[in-house]
Symmetry: C7
Subunit: 273 residues, 7 copies
Amino acid sequence: MLGKGVLNVLVILILSYFIIKFGKQVIQNIFKRRRKGPFKITQRRELTLVKLLENTLTYMVYFTAAIMILDTISIDVRTLLAGAGIAGLAIGFGAQNLVKDIITGFFIIFEDQFSVGDYIQTSSSEGFVEEIGLRTTKIKHWTGKLHIIPNGSIVEVTNYSVHNSIAVVDVSIAYEGDIKRAETVIENLLEELPQRYQELKGTPDLLGVQSLGSSDVVLRVIAETEPMEHWAIARAIRKELKTRLDEQGIEIPFPRLVMYSRQEEHEIMETTS
Amino acid sequence: MLGKGVLNVLVILILSYFIIKFGKQVIQNIFKRRRKGPFKITQRRELTLVKLLENTLTYMVYFTAAIMILDTISIDVRTLLAGAGIAGLAIGFGAQNLVKDIITGFFIIFEDQFSVGDYIQTSSSEGFVEEIGLRTTKIKHWTGKLHIIPNGSIVEVTNYSVHNSIAVVDVSIAYEGDIKRAETVIENLLEELPQRYQELKGTPDLLGVQSLGSSDVVLRVIAETEPMEHWAIARAIRKELKTRLDEQGIEIPFPRLVMYSRQEEHEIMETTS
Amino acid sequence: MLGKGVLNVLVILILSYFIIKFGKQVIQNIFKRRRKGPFKITQRRELTLVKLLENTLTYMVYFTAAIMILDTISIDVRTLLAGAGIAGLAIGFGAQNLVKDIITGFFIIFEDQFSVGDYIQTSSSEGFVEEIGLRTTKIKHWTGKLHIIPNGSIVEVTNYSVHNSIAVVDVSIAYEGDIKRAETVIENLLEELPQRYQELKGTPDLLGVQSLGSSDVVLRVIAETEPMEHWAIARAIRKELKTRLDEQGIEIPFPRLVMYSRQEEHEIMETTS
Amino acid sequence: MLGKGVLNVLVILILSYFIIKFGKQVIQNIFKRRRKGPFKITQRRELTLVKLLENTLTYMVYFTAAIMILDTISIDVRTLLAGAGIAGLAIGFGAQNLVKDIITGFFIIFEDQFSVGDYIQTSSSEGFVEEIGLRTTKIKHWTGKLHIIPNGSIVEVTNYSVHNSIAVVDVSIAYEGDIKRAETVIENLLEELPQRYQELKGTPDLLGVQSLGSSDVVLRVIAETEPMEHWAIARAIRKELKTRLDEQGIEIPFPRLVMYSRQEEHEIMETTS
Amino acid sequence: MLGKGVLNVLVILILSYFIIKFGKQVIQNIFKRRRKGPFKITQRRELTLVKLLENTLTYMVYFTAAIMILDTISIDVRTLLAGAGIAGLAIGFGAQNLVKDIITGFFIIFEDQFSVGDYIQTSSSEGFVEEIGLRTTKIKHWTGKLHIIPNGSIVEVTNYSVHNSIAVVDVSIAYEGDIKRAETVIENLLEELPQRYQELKGTPDLLGVQSLGSSDVVLRVIAETEPMEHWAIARAIRKELKTRLDEQGIEIPFPRLVMYSRQEEHEIMETTS
Amino acid sequence: MLGKGVLNVLVILILSYFIIKFGKQVIQNIFKRRRKGPFKITQRRELTLVKLLENTLTYMVYFTAAIMILDTISIDVRTLLAGAGIAGLAIGFGAQNLVKDIITGFFIIFEDQFSVGDYIQTSSSEGFVEEIGLRTTKIKHWTGKLHIIPNGSIVEVTNYSVHNSIAVVDVSIAYEGDIKRAETVIENLLEELPQRYQELKGTPDLLGVQSLGSSDVVLRVIAETEPMEHWAIARAIRKELKTRLDEQGIEIPFPRLVMYSRQEEHEIMETTS
Amino acid sequence: MLGKGVLNVLVILILSYFIIKFGKQVIQNIFKRRRKGPFKITQRRELTLVKLLENTLTYMVYFTAAIMILDTISIDVRTLLAGAGIAGLAIGFGAQNLVKDIITGFFIIFEDQFSVGDYIQTSSSEGFVEEIGLRTTKIKHWTGKLHIIPNGSIVEVTNYSVHNSIAVVDVSIAYEGDIKRAETVIENLLEELPQRYQELKGTPDLLGVQSLGSSDVVLRVIAETEPMEHWAIARAIRKELKTRLDEQGIEIPFPRLVMYSRQEEHEIMETTS
């Protein structure tokens, strides 16, 4: 009887495997045909829809198979169902995360919050989206780490790939220096940059005095770039600024300290010696 | 049978698509007509109402379609409903976030907490509102990042675009300096500013001695500006203050340290050498 | 049929609008009359009561309207109610925050925890109360930001406007200085202050040596002021103290350091050179 | 009908008002009489009991009134109750904080955890208790802020007014100094203190070397005082210690640093110049 | 009718008072007799059992009284029970903390996790246990503060009074010093200590080089002491170590810094002057 | 009767033991045969499937045995079930973590999130996966610690073993130095590295100026390596860079400070002496 | 009747006491006999099984006794059960932690996550396991503190006693020093260590340049040791390294600073004097 049960389980598993394989081909064929038809949707949306249908198919087949397998090895199921009140409560609560994952996953795909290739940031991870599923999303960090995140824990998403990025560079000028001359030098440099860097959208801006620090006056430069090019552009602007300010003899100051040297009073010295 | 099911699903999807498209036009026509009628509401409110109705329409159509699709592929639905007690509990719990999102979204639109174009801050993100939906809100950070936030996780909102903003500038004066003279110089400067900067609402205020730091006396200047102009104005005031204090020879002090040089006692030196 | 539904919805909305408008006037008339009658309650309480009744009216009318609208577009409602077990659970859970907001809001108004114009602090925001509603409270920060807080997330409130405020000023005295003389100078100054500043309630107190820091002896001065005047008074006292201590030649010390210059031992120097 | 409803509501409100007023007098009369009777309980407990009964009365009358008012404006109530399953769940969950507040409030009063005038500390606030209610407790901070805390969020309470307080003063001695002599000087001073300060309970203790810091040896002094007098006594001891150590020529050391001056090696200097 | 209700309430309260008073005496008598009988349990356990029974009695009598009082003032109870579905849910949820407190309290007493007089630490408080109840535990901090903690929030307890304590003293040695000689000096000292301090259990251990700091080599000494004597012993060892190292001329080093003095290059100086 | 019960329990335990032992062999035999058959799946997946089936078998047998044992000692079970309503609720809630663990565990194995030998990171632990079970996962940290984590608390997983790793090395250059020359020297070095280190994938990149620090210009180098080789490669690159920069006389700068020596003014000196 | 109840309670308590005492002996006898029988399991597992059975017995007897005692004092139980709906909910929720503790405790024992004597770390405590129970685990910290942790709050466990430990020692070398020579000296030392320290497993490794600090080059040494010997071995390696580097004249550097002395410009000096 156990042997027969195991056989049944295997038959169910193999059938499920072929149904999924066949179903996926049907889904892809439908979309291939439709592409020649009158309805036109962007290819990115289509990929999302195919993935959504495939995902739904897979989960449904496996869910049906799981029920059928549990049905096959009937002794255990009956014992399990004997305590259904308690078990039901426990399973209902335990499974709520699974339901939350699928609901959130559905809305991520449906509302097109992000797509494969976008650079996104969640509360605890960031990187390029490698795969979006109904239950989990895979994000590849630039250091090669692969984050696997259940969709239900993606509450707030930040998408870097929708709008142009802004590179922000802060540069310090000495308090003794001439701010106006420094501003002129920097602005002249910024106007030359768009020719040299294609990723720049328009001339970078010198915003002005960002803060009066304890040892330096901080000037802020911002530059609009193509999405996700702000890191590279910020590095380039830093180098250009450093080189230009050196050429023009404008100092980037080190930390400063004013020191008063004092002689210790005598009555205290005597007690310690 | 599977083929027929897939066909039905497609028919439902296409119908939904046209109902939404048509419904949205009807909503917009009604509002166009009404605009000439006797009822007068501000345009901003009207945009909100249109969006609210459109949103409601879309979600309802898709919800109906989803129920109908599940109904079409009836085998799976029945299996799913067989374990309805447990599944119902799990789905009920898992879906509570979805309900919370929509309830909160409704109140955001209904109570006009913020509208498209406002600069808002939530617990974890800030930026200009790009889109308000029933379920999610999109906020664009000034660096180009796009935050997509489910409404249910917008608990406390801070709206920067309702009232005038206040620019706050702290400036350090040396302990050895003359506070009264510094105050006079700064107040003279502040009175000149409203002519030069349109965004200023009235003359900025010199509040007084904000703190007695370890190396400097900190004076605080505040200036009322048009909404969201406080960053630009603060930068401008910082530059003006630095230039004016330089001209008047009032020092912005570096960190200070009083150093006592002492000779080490002999009995200790001997053990170490 | 859809057209008729939309018409019904509009009729319901317009009716609601007029009921609310009319109801509010009735409420205000009742209170105007009562004011001449025998019952006397403070005006602040009355404003609260009017607001409470208006708020209750608005929410009830809109709630009735919402049920009626859902009833009108009956197809969707039926589909929605078909899955009532699950949906009910989800809605019940999702709506608990709404209920919590209204219950807390009711108690804020009913127990008079704070009123419009008070300066309050919640766990994450602070500012002057601009508006108290049944569901949300609006607080205006002094920098112009408007915090919109659902009442349910106002757990602990701190109200600054009920009692007199205390301004706290810490001033550093050098270790080498004479504490008793510094105390006498400060106490003489404090006695002169009540004449010059109306917001002061009585003479400020010099509490004594608050801490023996690494470079300075810290003396603490506190002054009772009218509610919310402590920031301005603290700034004024800081300036007065700094000026008076300068006049009396009592030093506010900079950070200190005792430095021992040592020659490096030879055996180590050789390995590095 | 709406007019009649509003009238009914007003009648209910006025009746409630008089029932509460009358009920409170009855409660106080009972306690006045009982005071001459044979049962003796402390007056503090009696105040607590009166407050508890009054509070219970008020909440019960208002609760009954609320039910009756909802009953009067019957249309809305019926609509509300139509969706009772869902609404009940939402209200049940939303109201659990209210129930928790009252249960905790009852135990605070019943177990006499703190009483009006005590200085207490909760997880986020501290100050003198101004009022204890069934639902909220009001605490006045020494700077004049009034904390209003729902009892349910008072999980752990720290009461400073039950036992004597301990003032803790740490004083630094130089490494080069003579610890034994410093200990003798401090102990002599501590023995003189009880005469001068009534709030002291017995002679303060010099515990010993609390830590071997990077620049100083820290000695700790503790003094038992009457409840809440430890801040004032600590300030007094700090001043006494500073004055006595100065008189005896025992140094309170500044931060120290041993500096090795080194000439830079030549091969490196050349590349930078 | 209200008057009669109040009378009933008073009768119930007085009866409860006497039942508790009498019941406590009965419990204590039973235990007094049993003490002469054949069963022998430690006195600490007995105190715990008496307290447990008394506590149970008190809570049960009060609970019965509360139900009876609610029954007496029957109008309110009926109104309350009319909305029993909702109210029951709210009360059930709101009261779960109370149940959790009592369950945890039962296990604290039953499993003898700590007893009166022990020094314990919970997640947020520490001190000597003053009283253990079924619902709350009172802990007295050494500074005189009294923590009142509901048992349900005592998740993890740390008990300091079960095992011997370990005093840990870290002492710094100069990098230029001779570690082996320092170790010998310290070990000689440690061997002398057990005679002088009764609280020590065996000779303290010199563990070795705990860390190679930026300015010093840190050696760690540990000493087993009687429970809760580690603070006093650590202070004593610190003083002994400091005195002995001074006598033996082994330096406890100050922070060190190697300073390279450099002349600024000329081209930069010119632009700033 | 108790004796018989204990006997029954032992029989059940022994039977369970043999069923599991036999069942595991059957599972492994099936997979051994299948391996010669037509279906081909990767061996890693097969191991996962065997483990999944074995795990399921073990838990089901033990669960059945537990129910049977509880049934045998029937007195206790009946008492337990008498309070089934309450007990069921408590057990249902208490067991939800167990259910969550198994559901998450199933998806970890089913979706192949990580496999034995991978280096993964969860929210609180990281290390090489030693064992994946249905309920817990064991991770071995490189310091030898073994983390045992219930699967339900593995929310987000980061897998380091899927993609190539990136080694990141930041190196500081003096402000006075020549950035272009430093870049050339570093780039020449980077081109030599792939020959010397097999783990490198292609030539490392010099990204550019990562930040303008207070004392140094920071250049960033990144290198793609085989999975998990980035730590070793980063160490190697650091050493190579240090050696090459030394040879080429390019300084890695120490922290810098500009010091202004000032004489104290006289009026202040006099009051302190 | 009350007297009789108390008597019954005592009889029940005494009976429970003897049943537990007798039951434990039966359990231990069974295991003693079995040890001579054919089944062989490790002794550690056996201890665990005995403890598990004893624990189960104790809790079941006490649970039965509790139900019987409640049954005896029947008045209170009936009152309690009168409000069963609400009370049941409260108890069910309040008791879920108890259930969670026992479930987790069962799995800790069943899966052999750790055993008595192991050094483990939970989220908030670490130490040697002193006792594992069904509900709580006792951990002894090396300073003598005894942590009592409910099993339900042991989510992730880290077990240090399963695998060999790794001692990690970081040592700083001066930038001016010769890295290759330092590496040779350290490697020579490491090869000598296995003879001197039995706890070492193989020769320690010099990993290489762990970081390029601001004042020093940090080299990392790791050494595999027997479980929990890494602290002692790390201390030993630190001492050996310090001594050897001293002998070889390789400097462990102090923090460094490059100082530029600058004369203040005159125009600023004049305004301050």
